[in-house]
Symmetry: none
Subunit: 217 residues, 4 copies
DNA sequence: AATGAATGAGCATTCATTCAT
DNA sequence: TATGAATGAATGCTCATTCAT
């Protein structure tokens, strides 16, 4: 599977400039979507010439895919840390919620991008990049649930795949709700203007919701 | 609050033509996204001149907003039917799941559009239209939960707003997963290729998940 | 075989505008070659918007092919008139020389275009359009030569195809020499600055050359 | 008259590298034409940096002119050898035909370039380089014809300049017909698919054509 | 009211040329 | 002297919007 959508030249660029380009692109794509994103604009924000952009990426699409790839990598790192620890399922879930709260604030634009990207038009282009991560997540969650079932912590009559799916759905919506304007507004309607300052309450309630769904009480 | 984004002339048009225009627009916007959607294309699919389109809508945006409005109305109707019935919370939830399964198949394009619309770029334009419905939904769900709490069916230590939010999150993701390519593929990874033919299993598992979260067992 | 490289809309345009567009395009392509020719420039010379140009022609290439087609048609008309008359081979040849002298002056740009077009890069695109005419010419010349051979006017030991080829070569170079700067300069070196004013001498000498080659004397 | 269009630095370059550059440039210009030819491409094919190319040539045009100059020089050598021999006009012509058959195959790209170069757009730039050779050729042919007239071999009523012109026209078209796709296809229409394998027949027929035109029989 | 031809600003992409190293 | 990364003007093409009929 191809993993690099940029050209050799992009590797040779100084890390500082590379980051400026990636950042500018993330913001532009996140704010305007693929079609409306303007390469010339990205270039000028990044302090780079258009010509250079095309030395680094063959097409607008390649820049987009590079960004997506970068986003997935960043997410993988976050997830990887949580996975590494040997803890029980409920602790893991609590840690993931915390990570989402941190990540979706630090990386607002990447999160917006994830929303953007899941949008119909370009999805097939992007799926091959993201599917790997979705696969990993799905596999992991399912595995943890089965493990917990074996330990007698999770009810034996739940289908692990389905429950992993519902769990991840809750996580995705949480991410979007912290980062994307539309979902943020919507969340405020349900919970109130100050949700964003009440991370602990969110964690508490969501844990209660999930634990109720999963665990014997 | 402004509710009509079309011009007077659009009212005078025959219902048949009005529907052809709306349908063509829904498909175009859902398939290509706002920016890539082509007004001239919509006009020709609808069998109407571009000139007429601009007699009906001042801007591309206005057509988009009209479509969104129409989508929200359609959804309201579906929801309204469920709300009308006097049944217990869990029955209601099960009915909603069924409605989502039906609606997201019948109205694939409207569902895609909802995903599209929540995307950063256009969200502020759109929020004023959709917020009304989101408000209604949020209020309704919250009300039902409180009611169930009063009846002692739902645990008293859950915050109704939060739980309504989680519930709706699960619903939204279910919709997307049935209608939008990206989320469809993702769901298959979690559950398997044949999810789409196993609506009952989905309902059963999701009910189990939600009931665990909500109810005393 | 496809013969129209323009879109329906180009047919609906007033003849005056159509001619302005064709003329502007002929000049631009003849003067700058395919690559350097500028569509925006053609549009502005023709007094038409770029947008319209693309309503008439899908691609720059299609405009080019339309022009070539037009040139071939013009040439066919000229040739057709000469062919129509029932005269002996030498009279025919003399008439063709005269026609070349007239045509290459009236239609300098079309002649330049023919030179341009025969240039390597785009030749395959163009060949299908021009080949038909080349085929007609080749067949015609060969037929006339055979006929003259049958009548005992032309030597029986000449291969009609080859001689038709040499004859047409002389004609092509004569065209270019009257219309294209490079070949014009070159001709002046051979014959003198005032060749262009001595059409009769050219005709006389070329007839002498060709008749010597072809006929029993 | 300026004869060098390259900079001093190009002289100091090793012969091997110089030839690689010239060869790469000949191919690129011949295949793509002046406008589409890509300096960066030529540099990379020649194994030289773009920077160096601009140390050797001030402009794309200068590289082009250098190539033309080189082509003319090559042609001069070929012609020079034929001129050196003391033989009768008809033998000379036969030798030239043979030389064209060889040269246009060995140096396809240079021949294509000659065709390219005669194209309107660049002609004035190029004329000063080529005119010298055209002058030589014209002078030579004319001289030979006059000489043959003096010897009573060629008819006295032909104008040597005109006949030299016609002769050279036949030669030029023969060159193009062996090297350039368009003219090659055209020749096949007149003579047949296997012309390219029948050099002797071509020579025989062309000699017959020319001798008929020139000589008392 | 309806039409659909016309407009032209806007953007992706290319490539000759420069210049810091 | 050589390099090759960087530049940015230039151009083909699209499409929302206008307006004469």
């Amino acid at each position: 599977m191809k993993t690099d959508y940029f050209k050799e030249a992009f590797n040779k660029v100084s890390e500082e400039k590379r980051n400026k380009i990636l950042d500018a692109a993330i913001v532009e794509f996140a704010e305007h979507g693929f079609e409306s994103a303007n390469i010339n604009s990205i270039a000028s924000v990044a302090g780079v010439s258009v010509g250079s952009m095309y030395k680094y990426f063959d097409h607008k699409e390649d820049l987009f895919l590079t960004i997506i790839h970068y986003g997935v990598d960043t997410l993988k790192t976050v997830l990887g840390e949580i996975v590494a620890e040997k803890v029980s399922l409920d602790v893991r879930i609590e840690k993931i919620i915390g990570a989402i709260q941190r990540y979706s604030r630090e990386q607002v634009h990447l999160t917006k991008l994830y929303n953007e990207m899941a949008t119909e038009s370009r999805s097939s282009l992007v799926w091959k990049i993201v599917s790997e991560m979705e696969n990993a997540t799905a596999g992991l969650y399912t595995y943890y649930i089965k493990e917990a079932q074996a330990k007698g912590q999770v009810r034996s009559d739940v289908n692990p795949g389905y429950f992993a799916f519902f769990l991840d759905n809750l996580f995705i919506m949480l991410q979007f709700s912290y980062a994307c304007e539309y979902y943020k507004d919507r969340m405020k309607i349900f919970i109130g203007e100050d949700v964003l300052e009440q991370d602990d309450l969110m964690t508490e309630q969501l844990m209660k919701f999930i634990k109720g769904a999963f665990f014997y009480q």
